[in-house]
Amino acid sequence: MKKTPMLIIGGGPAGLSCAIQAASLGQSVTIVERSHSLGGQLVKQTHKFFGSEKQYASVRGFKIAELLIQEYEKYKDLIEVVLDATVTGLYPDKVCTIVQNGRYYKIKSEVIVVATGASEKFIAFENNDLPGIYGAGAVQTLMNQYGVLPGNKIVMVGSGNIGLIVSYQLMQAGVKVVSVLEAAPLIGGYLVHASKLRRLGVPIHTSKSILKANGSACVESIVIADLDDSWNPIPGTEETVEVDAVCVSVGLSPMHQLLSMVGARILFIPELGGWVPKVSECHETSVDNIFACGDLSGVEEASSAMVEGRLTGLFAARRLLGTIDNDESIHQDLISQLEGLRSGPFGKKTREGLLQMKEEGQC
């Protein structure tokens, strides 16, 4: 059986940052990544990031992926990357089963960092399986990575940052965004993104959602309606909108399956995306030597995932190496970066979620 001291599951912003941090401290690591390249969702993100310089502010997502990969290349001797490989099972003795191009094998590790990220939430409406109904991730992959338009006339369901940013990108690509629908009474994302859309003439309707898609072979129109305070459709407010595509962007669910199967404690904290693993301040789960970071331990922006990844890289390396030079200053720097990213009104949800996590007691 293949052995490695430290295994990182997922080579997205959190996992890759974790590997770089651990390697910079002298720890050798193995990253197992499902797709054929590192960088995770960053590779399809063409928008510029916020934050400060350390979190690559005003650099576009796919460029950040390139910068992280360049940084990884400095530590190539210490970071082994296994691509096109999916971890299919995680066991209490820290053995992972992996499938890579049809080959099934195992890796045993002393410390494991799970950084599997999150997947898109789905919503229930009539004919929600018609072709032409996409998740925002699929739209970004098609449009930003492969240059394929998802449709010509589209309605965006969800006004979080992803919904707003992808709507803007659709307009840039020449797609007519008819409107953005938000079930909640307030726009979910940053005002700066919403304003850009409004200046282009795209209406953002709050307390409104999709009830139904019509069409035989693909979407031809949709029915939308106003929602009451309990998010139920108000009869009589239905209207039909002609579109050939619908983009659903209603949030992300942490991908906790591997941790769930190894018996790690999973908590329901809606502010963090739903079911999330309980982690300590050191990002360790309730299973000794298994850590979690990034969107998996609470859905946030990629900027936070990168800092959390580095922080977890420090904790995991500390476990294996014992003492670390400049431990305290690295730790303080990363903690203050995270606090900065989570300060202000838009960090409120995350702060409340993390407080609930803390109140749940020891792992």
Binding site: T97, Y105, F122, A124, F125, L258, M261, G274
Partner: protein, 93 residues
């Protein structure tokens, strides 16, 4: 709204009508629904349907979302060819 046109688990093609029928029959937790309908047993292993089903159970049983557990996940989380597992068994040491 036609519940039989609303897909809840797209891997196994299970509709909201199927879920509601099972709830009425007394299968009011995820593990029971899984055994009746195969929800959460397809390629995505419940990553897509679990939150929707959790909400339906919460509504039906008048429980808070946090009090409605979702499915237990077991290996393997994606489809693996039996041949790959057989060949992989050589590498046990």
């Amino acid at each position: 709204m036609r519940d039989d046109k609303i897909i809840i688990c797209r891997c196994e093609d299970v509709t909201l009508a199927d879920v509601k029928r099972c709830l009425e029959e007394g299968y009011t937790n995820f593990e029971d629904l899984k055994r009746q309908l195969r929800v959460g047993m397809g390629p995505c292993q419940g990553q897509t349907c679990s939150a929707l089903i959790q909400r339906e159970i919460a509504k039906f049983t008048h429980k808070a979302m946090k009090d409605v557990p979702i499915q237990k996940t077991r290996p393997l989380i994606i489809g693996v060819e039996l041949r790959a597992i057989k060949d992989g068994a050589i590498d046990e040491s």
